[in-house]
């Protein structure tokens, strides 16, 4: 009647590994908000240095930090993979990525070839070993779940994305003239936004939507094939960009279509929850998936026509709303849980309950701030460009809000560890 699980019971990494990435991501978000506050609408031009800086503050700074932190946490839980010495691995990737990102942003601003070269070196040192190690462990995994398979494809796309980024930097720095920068830029966008960020979120959602919110599972064949299909289409887009540019938008649009379908299916799953009440994290997921579906529709339209500035800014806003909504949803689930669980596992009597680490009302208030930021951005895109300054201020406030929550959780954890009384779990006799 019964079967053994076959899954590993390896433990999650130390809490510091995850929180250090989440805190760094929040600080990058504060920097992105500050940049938008100072630059206003000029930070929305993706071809201008100001636009490149904002995009990379959000992607290399915010998203990469949160996603690496989530990967360190999720790989043991969702795939049974425990990375050896995660603290050292985290530090060895985080610092080079931090300085590499700062140098890359400076290079965008100055156009200095030396800065580009240094940025590439540091980003390579920080990103490639950790991504390779995670990908290799996933490749060697015998029993894959839809999530672990999806994570593997997302990491493959990250590696491709980084290598393509290096190529583009070589073009920008004047070390090579091979390749069309505009075509490569489009592939870089597709790999980064669809193949890495969206696909990792999709992979995680296969497990967490069902696990966190008690919904019906995603259809098995769908969850099994979606990540490979999206990755295959994006790889074909790269090949097309180099050889058959006319086919490039078709491959990218198909990938965007699949990602959009996932957004709609996730909204459907969330509507099938059995509990009538929804906390802030459910609403963050709903906002995120709604924004993703709309963004993918615009993305497909933009692949075949030239979007006006207002529509381009709407697409940019909706995609950012998707990514940040999911990041906030995950952070408000993961941070209180890790704080509570690690202290309980160590046997502290006075370990705070999860709602005492971050109160649900605190997360609900963040949802209001987040929605205000989103609507201000949409309003700025369509009516008053000067409102982008206000959007920047709200974005800054939003990230300061979550940074404070993460810092307080970390502080509480250390406080209990220093002064807490321990209980004994019953032991085997």
């Amino acid at each position: 009647m019964f079967q053994n699980s076959g899954l590993s019971l390896d433990q999650a990494p130390p809490i510091s590994v995850v929180l250090r990435f989440f805190l760094a991501g929040s600080l990058w978000g504060i920097a992105a908000g500050t940049w938008l506050l100072l630059q206003g609408p000029s930070a929305l031009n993706p071809a201008a240095p100001q636009g490149l800086i904002l995009t990379h503050l959000l992607t290399l700074g915010v998203m990469l930090s949160f996603m690496l932190g989530a990967l360190f946490q999720m790989l043991p839980v969702l795939a049974g993979i425990a990375l050896k010495d995660p603290v050292t691995l985290a530090i060895r990737s985080q610092w080079p990525i931090l300085f590499g990102t700062i140098l890359l942003l400076s290079a965008f601003g100055s156009g200095s070839s030396t800065l580009y070269l240094l940025a590439v070196l540091l980003l390579g040192v920080g990103l490639l070993p950790v991504a390779w190690r995670m990908l290799r462990r996933l490749y060697l995994l015998r029993n894959h779940s839809a999530s672990s398979r999806g994570m593997g494809f997302a990491l493959y796309n990250l590696l491709l994305l980084v290598l393509l980024g290096f190529w583009m930097v070589a073009l920008l720095g004047g070390w090579t003239f091979r390749g069309d920068l505009l075509a490569l830029r489009q592939v870089h966008l597709g790999l980064g936004l669809l193949g890495w960020i969206a696909l990792l979120i999709i992979a995680v959602s296969f497990q967490v939507i069902e696990m966190f919110y008690v919904t019906p599972p995603y259809p098995k064949p769908y969850a099994r094939w979606l990540p490979s299909l999206v990755t295959g289409l994006l790889t074909l887009e790269l090949v097309a960009a180099l050889n058959l540019p006319a086919l490039q938008p078709w491959f990218e649009s198909l990938a965007a279509f699949l990602v959009g379908i996932h957004a709609l299916l996730t909204l459907r799953r969330l509507s099938q929850r059995q509990r009538p009440l929804a906390d802030a994290t459910v609403w963050f997921w709903r906002v995120g998936m709604g924004a993703l579906a709309a963004a993918m529709l615009l993305w497909i339209v933009g692949d075949f026509t030239t979007l006006s500035i207002a529509w381009s800014e709407t697409l940019y806003t909706l995609y950012a709303a998707f990514a940040l909504s999911v990041v906030f949803a995950m952070a408000y689930k993961i941070v209180p849980f890790l704080t509570w669980f690690h202290l309980n596992a160590q046997g502290y009597f006075n370990a705070p309950m999860m709602h005492e680490v971050i109160h649900p009302r605190y997360a609900m208030r963040h949802l209001s701030i987040h929605l205000t930021t989103l609507f201000t951005a949409l309003f700025a895109a369509w009516t008053t460009p000067e409102l982008w300054h206000l959007t920047g201020a709200l974005l800054l406030f939003s990230f300061a809000w979550i940074a404070l929550a993460i810092y307080r959780a970390w502080h509480r954890y250390l406080e209990v560890q220093t002064s807490g009384e321990k209980f004994e779990f019953p032991s085997m006799k």
Binding site: M1, F2, S5, L7, A12, G80, M353, P426, K429
Partner: protein, 88 residues
């Protein structure tokens, strides 16, 4: 042995773990936790292993996970499990 039941199949994360840990803290040699879950609760099992509790997790043909944990080293959890009938 006294059974402390926890049917977590309809509970949202992390309620099952919260409730399971509360029960674990009260177990003695004559009692065990019997938990039903729709997923294998890896953090709970890791915690049981770290604290050297006798534990067992099995998935039945319907996809329901059965988790048994006790401090009693001589308890035959597999046999205890075989006597269970799963409530719908």
């Amino acid at each position: 042995m006294t059974k402390r039941s926890l049917d977590a199949r309809q509970m949202e994360h992390p309620e099952p773990l919260e409730k399971a840990i509360a029960i674990l803290r009260e177990l003695d040699e004559g009692s065990y936790l019997y938990m039903l879950h729709r997923k294998e609760p890896l953090p709970l099992l890791a915690l049981a292993r770290e604290h050297r509790l006798n534990h067992l997790s099995r998935c039945d043909a319907t996809g329901v996970w059965h988790i048994l944990i006790t401090p009693n080293v001589s308890a035959d959890l597999a046999q205890l499990l075989e006597t269970e009938s799963v409530p719908a």
